[in-house]
């Protein structure tokens, strides 16, 4: 199954839920007027897009419509507006140096967003590309987190470095880094304990993890992925801001998009923080992860069947 058809699978529920509403908003022949904007506002707000970003999207849509002079269907215009907002974040981030080995990917987030599961899927994703992947169990806090990661390592045929429950997370990750260098790994994916962004001591711990990695190599970590639950509301933006303060986030992973939640908060995050969305997760299987595509997401949000089916 190709990447896009898998995203399609993931978004299908979202699409079903939303396309009805959107279908009503974008009935053929409708013009962009106050009534349409009010209905659109409602759809966006009930997708967790949030006030400010909704206002922004609607004003961009109005501008686009003025410029377009009715040549393009309103729905297509809206799709473009959403995709461009997401694309701006993507363009703003420089792709990191790809040649260095191993690439260190640090996976962070609040409790229960699906970090460990995402790591399992990521490991599988890179293993499929015949890369050597090592996992490091940086979550030394939660009971059985190490065991959980171990099961994923076994499933995906990855090596794993771990220490004991309660050990210093930074030390474990550092050990993992050394060992990944020595064994010539392509990727080192580090799990971290879920932490609420309001706990300053735990955020400091994260800073320390980044610091010890940098001590080894200035370029590490090459990627810091913030895992975000698609059901998260407006607090998602606060989370992203606070995590970025402790450790610069390079990308977002949106999980659990196979439910009815739309993950609209990621529009606010990429708009405010210029952080691109890199992956989406949608299930408990190894394959249930896909590279994020702004156009497909926008289409999914708007229930545009054509774009989804042709991709």
């Amino acid at each position: 199954m190709g990447i896009f058809s898998r995203i399609k699978k993931g978004f299908s529920k979202t699409r079903e839920a939303l396309s009805e509403k959107m279908g009503a908003v974008f009935k053929p022949g409708r013009k962009i007027d106050d009534e349409l904007l009010a209905e659109l506002e409602e759809v966006l707000l009930s997708s967790d897009v949030g006030w400010e970003t909704t206002d922004e999207l609607l004003s961009r849509l109005k501008d686009a419509a003025k410029e377009d002079r009715g040549k393009t269907e309103p729905e297509e215009l809206m799709r473009q507006v959403i995709a461009s907002l997401l694309g701006e974040a993507e363009a703003a981030t420089e792709p990191a140096d790809n040649n260095e080995k191993p690439r260190v990917i640090l996976v962070v987030g609040v409790n229960g967003t699906g970090k460990t599961t995402t790591i399992g899927k990521l490991a599988h994703y890179y293993r499929q590309q015949n890369k050597n992947v090592m996992l490091v169990a940086g979550d030394t806090f939660r009971a059985a987190a190490i065991e959980q990661l171990k099961i994923w390592a076994e499933r995906t045929g990855c090596q794993m470095v771990s220490s004991m429950h309660g050990a210093d997370a930074a030390a474990v990750v550092y050990d993992g880094f050394e060992s990944a260098i020595n064994r010539g790994m392509d990727y080192l994916i580090a799990d971290t304990a879920g932490r609420l962004h309001t706990k300053s001591n735990l955020m400091k711990e994260l800073e320390k993890v980044a610091r010890v990695l940098k001590k080894k190599r200035e370029t590490a970590p090459h990627e810091v992925l913030l895992v975000l639950d698609a059901t998260t509301g407006q607090n998602g933006l606060v989370q992203a801001k606070e995590f970025t303060r402790a450790i610069p986030i390079t990308g977002l992973v949106l999980t659990k998009i196979d439910g009815t939640a739309k993950g609209g908060i990621l529009l606010s995050i990429s708009r405010t923080l210029n952080v691109p969305v890199k992956f989406v997760g949608f299930g408990e299987g190894l394959d249930d992860l896909a590279v994020f595509d702004a156009d497909t997401f926008a289409a999914g949000l708007l229930g545009d069947k054509e774009t989804l089916e042709s991709s």
Binding site: S46, S47, W51, T113, L196, Q234, G236, T260, A261, K262
Partner: protein
């Protein structure tokens, strides 16, 4: 956020201050800002709309009180209405008549079920119970180990079996609990999406086979608009009896609480406020309401508003007393004020010059309700001009209030006595009555 809201509302109401009543238009404008706040707090759009419609209904037509800003007045209505919607009182856990009592814990992935199960186990253990934790999450890798480790750390028995199906494991756990006289049984089920038909059917099967005393729906306080969909889907399938809100040690406003309550009508029983296993608290609707509205100090603000409203009424009364216009309407409003302030006798004793002179006006708390009923059965004219109260009117009032004519006679007598007293009772200076009422 809350200060911002207050400022915005103040702006909307500025022209209103000290005149007229809260009108539909200006309340409508104000509530638009409130809607924004509610959405920022993740209250579901539709829930917010219904909620504000109720607030509007209550607010329209209310008199603007001079000494409290209309904004504060409206906020008080919003706050009260929200507390009511959130369930008023804190709810308790149900217990089965036939032990062991079963608590089944369900929810989406990552909402915090396993941790909550351990917390509940510890909570019940400290109450002298002997709970059994059942590791029925056979989906997530190492979920059983997680519960096992947590159970061990709090010294609670855990049941774990390598069963293929969760319902079978649960049934085996029940046998185990009965044999070892463990009670209650807390079942940690696998997290699942509400649209997953197969896994939802599995929960139904567990429910049918175990007849739990409570099914507790665990929800992440950071959940956004979708909270209504998942809560409703779980409720439609399982009719859960209570909800748990987790991760409230973060800074999420927790508007999901309002959404869940509104779509399921089920109480929120506990909140989870930290990683430590004793971080479990009983849910308090008023605290949650202030959180959703913005800041902790909204409660004190609301209290201030209430106090100001009370003062306002006291001042009005004082003026009337000066003009000897004291009627049954005032009597009623004063009674209600007093009712809020505690024992009536104590209050009257505090009135300067009245101590010991009111022996015949003994009114116990239970009689307050009767007096209220009597006054409410009077016409406005009768309340304002008690002189018109003839025999036939008194009989009608007695019938209307479920009392006897003697009761009416006594009340009128008391009222007249009070009026006579007030004639003799001069002064204390401006604000005297207000100060008097503020005393505890």
């Amino acid at each position: 956020m809350f200060d911002e809201l207050t400022q915005k509302l103040d702006k909307v109401f500025r022209r209103l201050r000290g005149m007229g009543i809260l009108s539909e238009t200006n309340i409508h404008n104000a509530l638009r800002d409130v809607r924004r706040v509610l959405l920022e707090s993740d209250v579901n759009l539709k829930v917010a709309r219904d909620f504000l419609a109720r607030v509007q209904e209550r607010a329209v037509g209310q008199e603007v009180i001079g000494s409290v800003s209309p904004a504060q007045q409206v906020i008080k209505i919003i706050f009260d209405e929200m507390v009511e919607l959130l369930g008023g009182e804190s709810a308790r856990l149900l217990v089965s008549p036939r032990p062991p009592t079963v608590y089944m814990v369900v929810g989406l992935q990552g909402s915090g079920k396993t941790t909550f199960c351990a917390k509940l186990g510890l909570h019940l253990k400290t109450k002298g119970r002997r709970p059994l934790l059942v590791a029925a999450d056979l989906q997530r890798p190492a979920a059983q180990e997680q519960l096992e480790i947590l159970a061990e750390s709090i010294g609670v028995t855990v049941f774990r079996e390598k069963a293929n199906r969760a319902p079978d494991a649960c049934e085996a756990a029940m046998d185990y609990a009965r044999r070892n006289s463990l009670d209650p049984v807390i079942i940690d089920t696998a997290g699942r999406l509400h649209i997953d038909q197969v896994l939802m059917a599995e929960l139904e099967e567990i429910q049918q086979r175990l007849s739990p005393a409570e099914i507790l729906f665990v929800a992440d306080s950071m959940t956004g608009q979708d909270a209504v969909n998942s809560a409703k889907a779980f409720y439609d399938k399982l009719q859960f009896s209570g909800a748990i809100l987790t991760k409230l040690d973060g800074d999420a406003r927790g508007g999901a609480a309002l959404s869940i309550r509104a779509v399921t009508q089920q109480p929120i029983k506990f909140i989870s406020t930290g990683e430590k296993l004793d971080a479990l608290e009983v849910f308090h609707p008023s605290r949650m309401a202030s959180r959703i509205l913005g800041k902790g100090d909204v409660v004190s603000l609301v209290e201030k508003a209430q106090e100001a409203i009370d003062q306002e009424e006291a001042e009005k009364l004082e003026q009337k007393l000066r003009k000897r216009e004291f009627d049954f309407e005032d009597f009623l409003s004063q009674l209600r004020q007093l009712k809020k302030m505690g024992p009536l006798a104590g209050m009257l004793e505090m009135i300067p010059g009245m101590a010991g002179r009111l022996k015949d006006v003994k009114v116990d708390e239970g009689a307050l309700r009767r007096i209220e009923a009597i006054i409410l059965s009077m016409t406005l004219e009768e309340r304002r001009n008690p002189k018109v109260l003839n025999g036939s009117r008194r009989r009608r009032i007695a019938r209307g209030s479920g009392t006897r004519v003697q009761d009416i006679n006594r009340l009128v007598e008391q009222y007249q006595q009070m009026r006579r007293m007030l004639k003799n009772f001069k002064g204390g200076g401006p604000g005297m009555l207000r100060r008097m009422m503020k005393a505890p």
